[in-house]
Point group: C2
Chain length 327, copies 2
Amino acid sequence: MKLGSLKTGGRDGTLIVVDRGLTRYVVAGDVATTMQEAIEDWLNTAPRLNAISTALNAGERDDAEELDCGVLASPFPRAYEFVDGSAYLPHVERVRKARGAEVPESFYQDPLMYQATSAGFLGPRDPVPVVSEEYGIDFEAEIVVVTDDVPMAVSAEQAAGHIQLLGLINDVSLRNLIPAELAKGFGFLHSKPRSAFSPVFVTPDELGDAWQDSVLSLPLVSTLNGKRFGAPEAGVDMQFNFAQLTAHAARTRPLSAGTIVGSGTIANQDESLGASCLAERRMLEIIANGKPETPFMAFGDTIRIEMFDSQGDSIFGAIEQSIEKYG
Amino acid sequence: MKLGSLKTGGRDGTLIVVDRGLTRYVVAGDVATTMQEAIEDWLNTAPRLNAISTALNAGERDDAEELDCGVLASPFPRAYEFVDGSAYLPHVERVRKARGAEVPESFYQDPLMYQATSAGFLGPRDPVPVVSEEYGIDFEAEIVVVTDDVPMAVSAEQAAGHIQLLGLINDVSLRNLIPAELAKGFGFLHSKPRSAFSPVFVTPDELGDAWQDSVLSLPLVSTLNGKRFGAPEAGVDMQFNFAQLTAHAARTRPLSAGTIVGSGTIANQDESLGASCLAERRMLEIIANGKPETPFMAFGDTIRIEMFDSQGDSIFGAIEQSIEKYG
């Protein structure tokens, strides 16, 4: 099934069940008012939401309304925890190579992951408000999973069974703030503001064979200002699968229902498939020509992020955001 | 007024109003069910909660029940955002001095702050579950403030008006996991598991003259296994006040109602007042004798953290936790 949230109804929005074709929806109110409420009681709510989904896809819900992704809230308008991995090592390798640094051997066994802000997510078509273009505005196209309650110190095998939903994210990054921030030693804060999820999150069964061993094997398409930017294969070069990332996140703490675990920017060794962020294209330009040619995003620029199934249908709907001057 | 949460009522507990002496409480149900609900509509809920508090303190609430801090939940059992500063530079200076490093000049103008986990907080008397003593278990005694909705990019002057509640925190740290984690460059994750707040959070007016210019000027007392460990003055050597820390947190994002901003470990230049964490005492031992003598916490060890007003009365109630082997 596919789930989303209307902006109405308060800070957590209103949970809706969306049809497979992303054209119609029904409010899930009799099962759960919000996505957070649903995931907190998933054993009970998932079958009931699934029944709504089945009827909706069969055309049996007369109360279904036309879906406009443009007015949706984030599926989770806010969450209690978002931990973002960096599972695609080609991204890390390129960034390091550009500045002449090696990738430590440990990075191939021990996932990179950071604690990200979860207090608010932009709607899938909301503009991204930024104070200054000087911040070096970039998108990052990634996949996220959502867990139910995960006990502390679980194995990856155990963690796999706690992955209940998948979606896409535009993990907005302010590149020019990163070097000074990371140099302070305490990780990202200013350089990782609010991000945006895809219009809907889906259960793993919606992905068919493309979801195996906690890896989603489809290209993730990024389109910048209307031009295809990149479509790396999310099933290739993922050093740590989502079960391993989830277990990593839970090593010294339980994860509470609704925890969002990110894959990191999708990137392949095969450069011909393009990139999922501007920083990486700029790195390739630096490696090739000694300097970057592609600028970071300017006010008014738009980024579209989408994933299609083998029939060419959009799975999660498109994230489509423009950059907007704040204040 | 003083507010806390019972463990009953679900993941967010049940909001209670507590009397000044921390002996009696009434459920705030007719105003707001949970602390989160209260802070999200603070303009409306605060005056009504204050009316309950006034009646309770005047002995006019026949429905008041006896308070047992031992069964309380965290005032916020969970939150959407927790950002922890490091405003007491003597702490940073000592840690760096012990390893022969300088404190960068920028640290005196630009606050250190990290994105911390907020998905669950331990109750004030709950044990701290840790997998292994080898992790180097430490407490950190700090002060936190809670904001209402703070717009992006506010000034410190504007941020000051958004501080609505104060409390204490035991920011649990797993010291032996920190070096490898920070070396990866993405900040704390495993080394900062779930923390615990004081039994109650209080409004600034409860602090009288001790709260001025967004600084709380009272000693914070830490007691380890029944022995006084330290009582540094929170009003001394705070390089950045809570308004500045809040504005720093909001530089590239709005803060949503219920955001928790931490002071960092309380530490003074005056070493005679003791420390608010084991790491710092160990650092002083290393500086003095070349090696640490005080061990990190073992299973069964207890830490008590409390702050008293000028009459010697406990303001927030005591955090008192033992370390417990997990699994």
